[in-house]
Amino acid sequence: MPTFEVNDHKYEVDEDGFLQEPGIWNETVASDFATTEGVTDLTEAHWKVIHYLRNYYLQFGIAPMIRKVCKETGFKLNEIYQLFPSGPAKGACKLAGLPKPTGCV
């Protein structure tokens, strides 16, 4: 099992660097993973998206529809790409501790 080590923390991750055990997520995890997705500073805007994804995931067991993310957080899709350069499905989900999306996503 690959591991990801940063700031004295050690995480079990899959080969794409997604948290292996989504249940252990907390805000420190998001901060630790941020650099791998090209996010240097987690602002309030980042947290808004991350918390929305996280809460939706805890309720429904999957990431929300992208259109819903935009509507509920008030960010346009290109603004989300500015926040998370690797995109909502990869970058934002990884920081929120969701499993890697599968299928044609």
Binding site: M65, G103, V105
Partner: protein, 477 residues
């Protein structure tokens, strides 16, 4: 097309896996593979090949191909991968020969005799490794088929090669994991969408449509006896809200009864890419849901491989001539429009719009003119890309490669190189790509190559153009 620079070549072919994993699996490929039993690989490959030949009719095609294959390389002019890399190993008939040679050597009488006479040791592990790499460099777009003077379908060989490889455990992890969730997972679909999330998303979309168009546009769930049962690529429920809204809006306008089954609502079938066995099992899931809801017609969403796998293989595995008809949603919308049951407002889209033909829809000539006629009805500036229709260039993410994230540099620089330039040359603001695979690949391509073109589905635009009429209580906007 500009050939690859050395820097681009290095980037596109950079190893994506740790050296220790490659050494452990003895498999120098760029896609991730789950660990598998790698002992006696050549022997196990031949056993799998023999089993496939015994239980299928691939032998008919292979017997013909080994006789007529001239290895003339005419196909090279059609292959976007070869045109980008210039590597002889990417010429379609070179790649096919990897497998045809094994067939000739091990499964024909003359080949076996000649092998013994000349002391040819037969299939080696190096050849298995070469195939594992080569068959996933091909996007299985079937464009080379047109150029082959002998009529060899190289994508069929790619498919068969991948099928046999998958039988001995060599398949991209991205595809295998999705298929496992679809066939044995709790959610039963490739993107692991649970039913409560499906309901939540669809209610959200209906609310949005009510807000935007002032019309109540439902997504009927689990309605028995509907005329149409809808199977989009399940990823549409996460990524393609606008396409789904268009699908629902078309039915709102025509008034036909349709439904989405909560027992199974995924049109995706990766079996088409790498395994006939999986192709069959996924179609059986579809059949069970169709029978549960007693639907009359299977309707596939905007997705090339989902449409082709159902259209051409549902009858094969699910009832032959008695099997229910399969239609693509664009065929449906086009027919309704022709019959006057779907009213579209002309000149709704003023910006330049072009159309990308997904290989799995257009290569056989199945869905080619229908979307064009619809687009011309609603766009004031429709432009074609060249080449187009049956001869269109693949997005570069075909054959399942778009789902393999780790090979993105390859898809961007090699597979999609020709496509990016083709779209740029049109100058279009919107490129309609009615396929979940193509949409994802093309969006990444436009970003990577700096092309200012928005990738949308056909139904995204139809949604804006549908005239619900005064009876619907819509605001007609």
């Amino acid at each position: 097309m500009q050939p690859l620079t050395e820097e681009e070549r290095t980037h596109a072919f950079a190893p994506t896996r740790k050296a220790e994993v490659i050494a452990r699996q003895r498999l120098p490929v760029r896609y991730h593979v789950e660990d598998f039993d790698g002992h006696h690989r050549p022997r196990r490959f031949l056993e799998a090949f023999a089993a496939v030949l015994k239980h299928t009719n691939y032998r008919l095609a292979l017997d013909q191909y080994v006789r007529v294959s001239a290895k003339c390389s005419r196909c090279s002019v059609k292959c976007q991968v070869y045109l980008a890399t210039g590597d002889n190993r990417d010429i379609p008939c070179y790649r096919s020969e990897l497998l045809l040679k094994i067939y000739r050597r091990h499964f024909t009488v003359s080949g076996v005799l000649r092998g013994r006479l000349l002391g040819d040791p037969g299939l080696t592990d190096e050849r298995v490794q070469e195939m594992a790499d080569a068959f996933y460099n091909c996007t299985a777009c079937r464009r080379c088929h047109f150029e082959c003077p002998m009529g060899i379908d190289h994508a069929l060989i790619t498919h068969l090669g991948r099928y046999i490889l998958s039988e001995i455990g060599i398949a991209p992890r991205a595809l295998a994991v999705s298929v496992r969730e679809q066939l044995t997972g709790a959610t039963g679909n490739t993107s692991a969408v649970p039913v409560p999330a499906l309901r939540d998303s669809l209610e959200f979309l209906s609310d949005d449509m009510q807000e935007e168009r002032g019309v109540d546009i439902p997504f009927p769930l689990d309605e028995e006896g509907a005329d149409y049962i809808f199977f989009p690529a399940v990823s549409d429920f996460l990524m393609e809200a606008d396409t789904l809204m268009g699908n629902a809006a078309v039915f709102r306008a025509t008034g036909d009864r349709w439904t989405i089954g909560t027992g199974y609502f995924d049109g995706i079938n990766y079996g088409l890419f790498y395994s006939d066995h999986i192709l069959e099992m996924v179609l059986h899931k579809m059949r069970a849901e169709v029978e549960r809801l007693k639907a009359k017609t299977i309707l596939i969403g905007e997705c090339g491989h989902a449409s082709r796998s159902a259209k051409f293989f549902y009858p094969t595995y699910c009832g032959g001539k008695q099997a229910l008809p399969v239609v693509n949603c664009m065929e449906y919308a086009h027919k309704a429009w022709k019959q006057g049951r779907l009213k579209l407002k002309p000149n709704t889209i003023a910006e330049a719009v072009t159309y990308h033909d997904p290989c799995n829809l257009a290569r056989t000539g199945w869905v080619v003119e229908q979307p064009r006629e619809l687009l011309k009805a609603i766009c004031s500036n429709y432009v074609e890309m060249t080449p187009n229709r049956r001869d269109n260039i693949c997005c570069g993410g075909g054959g399942g490669t778009v789902s393999i994230d780790e090979i993105k540099p390859y898809r961007m620089l090699v597979g999609g190189r020709a496509k990016a330039e083709q779209i740029r040359a049109t100058g279009a603001k919107y490129c309609v790509a009615p396929c979940a695979n193509c949409k994802k690949q093309l969006r990444e391509l436009m970003e990577e190559h700096g092309v200012d073109c928005q990738i949308v589905g056909l139904h995204d635009l139809l949604y804006k153009a549908i005239d619900f009429g005064p009876a619907a209580g819509g605001n007609g906007q």
